[in-house]
Symmetry: C2
Subunit: 331 residues, 2 copies
């Protein structure tokens, strides 16, 4: 018995439970140099929605009737590989299976003594790298500038805001409930927060929260929230397009105000950010993030769901605002 989750159908619009299928596969037998891994923690992320479509994108689409993969922390159960010992924990891009084997090449050993294992999927994993490298490599925030973050209560957004504060910015977050907006200020130290669901005029709300205009915008959401921010950008503003959760489930390209004149008038830069393009910078970024984390300067939220069977629902929950911070399934 080795439960596996495969992509049964490509989602149309919002993913449904019926897009996924549970199958049983054999327990793998490991060969020379291989390790047997038992899945401990599974990261579910909005970007996986893109890989479930077969449109051309930066990473290959998942194949139908094949396992889905995402960031996973796993325990080494058996090892024929000198680099790993039974009992080690590793992280990597692995399949949604209870057990799997690996040659160990793209695994990273993680240390439960230095940080909770789940942090290696979050603030010390892809989430933290995305926040840090997106903000610093494209956003290049300067002390005293104003940073706006959409999806600010999410796993990436909450780290972006804290890094913005550490770098000396005024930081304004946008989230979808009053509780989240309150948390941005109380827990993460944002200077101001906007609940977009109760805001009728985003342009005015951003203008009020950002009296000196917006210099850097870290966008996880897109759509009308972005329209409101763009109306308030300063000369030479930098806009990091990191995610677009508001449109991931659209079946046609959504329409919105054209951005060309806004970009020209403000000599502004807008750039799509994919963390894997910055792999050369991962080591230094991890050192910086670990140092902040150990100094107590970075905090994070997790929503942990229990049980392998809950992986598809946890993923779907991302599009229903069911997470505070990083969404993780614990096996």
């Amino acid at each position: 018995m080795n439960k596996t989750i495969i992509l049964e159908k490509r989602p149309v619009g919002k993913p449904q439970l019926s897009d996924f299928k549970f199958t049983d596969t054999e327990l793998p037998q490991i060969g020379a140099n291989e390790v047997l891994l038992k899945t401990s923690l599974v990261s579910v992320d909005p970007y996986l929605r893109g890989r479930m479509s077969d449109a051309k994108s930066y990473s290959a689409p998942f194949q139908l009737q094949k396992p889905i993969s995402s960031g996973i922390v796993a325990e080494v159960m058996e090892s024929n590989n000198a680099a790993y010992t039974k009992g080690d924990y590793v992280s990597g891009l692995l399949e949604w299976k209870e057990f799997q084997k690996s040659e160990g090449k793209r695994l990273l050993k993680v240390d439960a003594a230095k940080a909770p294992l789940s942090a290696y999927l979050g603030v010390l994993g892809m989430t933290g790298l995305t926040a840090y490298l997106g903000l610093t490599e494209i956003g290049k925030p300067k002390k005293g500038e104003t940073l706006v973050v959409s999806g600010a209560a999410g796993a990436v957004g909450s780290v972006v805001g804290q890094i913005g504060k550490l770098l000396g910015c005024r930081v304004v977050g946008i989230a979808g409930t009053d509780e989240k907006a309150e948390m941005l200020k109380a827990k993460y130290g944002f200077d101001a927060a906007i609940n977009y669901t109760t805001t009728s005029n985003m342009i005015e709300a951003i203008a009020t929260a950002c009296p000196d205009g917006v210099d850097v915008y870290f966008d996880n959401v897109g759509g009308e929230i972005t329209d409101g921010v763009l109306a308030n950008i300063n000369q030479l503003a930098r806009i990091i397009i990191c995610g677009s959760i508001s449109v991931y489930n659209e079946t046609s390209v959504p329409m919105g105000p054209r951005v060309e004149t806004t970009l020209i008038k403000n000599s502004a830069l807008m750039q799509g950010f994919i963390v894997s393009n910055y792999a050369a910078k991962f080591p230094e970024a991890i050192i910086q993030l670990s140092s902040w984390l150990q100094a107590g300067k970075l905090t994070y939220s997790e929503t942990i769901i229990d049980g392998f069977d809950q992986i598809p629902q946890a993923f779907i929950g991302l599009f229903e605002g069911q997470n505070n911070g990083k969404m993780i399934v614990k096996i």
Copy 2:
């Protein structure tokens, strides 16, 4: 008698002759350190439309009932300034007047022996600087890449395409008539050209003209042409938003497909370009452009209209496709 053109009304939509008014002012008397200038050549440019509105932008709006200014080449008629002698020609941002005085601070002496005077408003002036610096500073084209230029038969676009060829790119131009498309290939050496007015499917047309996709897009037009190009961009594409003539006269922000997912999927960069932000690079750019021009490697077109009274109509003509290359009024 010193004819002057003032902004009578802010244009709504496309500019009209009635937005401008001719007045007579006194012939200026020059004081210490001043020069008296007689206007020889006036550059009319699409970006002036932006300054005729009072919206916040990168340069201050023109004031109502005050003279409009643009790039002008003028002859020095009298001089109390040691840097200038009667008979010199200068270029600068000057007012739409037959005669005006200046302290000479922001004037550049130009040499009619090295290039035709009109070139200092074009390929060796703001036009050439915009083409060269927009392409190299944001577009960063590499040998073998594909460059697409919209508004390619215009003053900036035709220079961009030629520089693209000099830098080793495959260059595809988009223009609005068959004659212009033909000229792009025959006169400017573009590899392919598309007449957008007779193209029903821009996405397919770009795909056909760019079998390896689009790496750099120099956009002077915006709107549906841009939509067609964006559907064909490659990973890490760079998009220079230099102009948006298709929407300058719109009275509300036009709608179009949202660009966020396209930018993310391709890790693409889109940046508004204003040449004045790159003033520190003007000297080296002028040296490069002069060197290419003198070596016969850069050619340019001009549409020269005769008579001070024709300035407003020449400006309006820009939005009616009446120019091939740089539109200049000769006094």
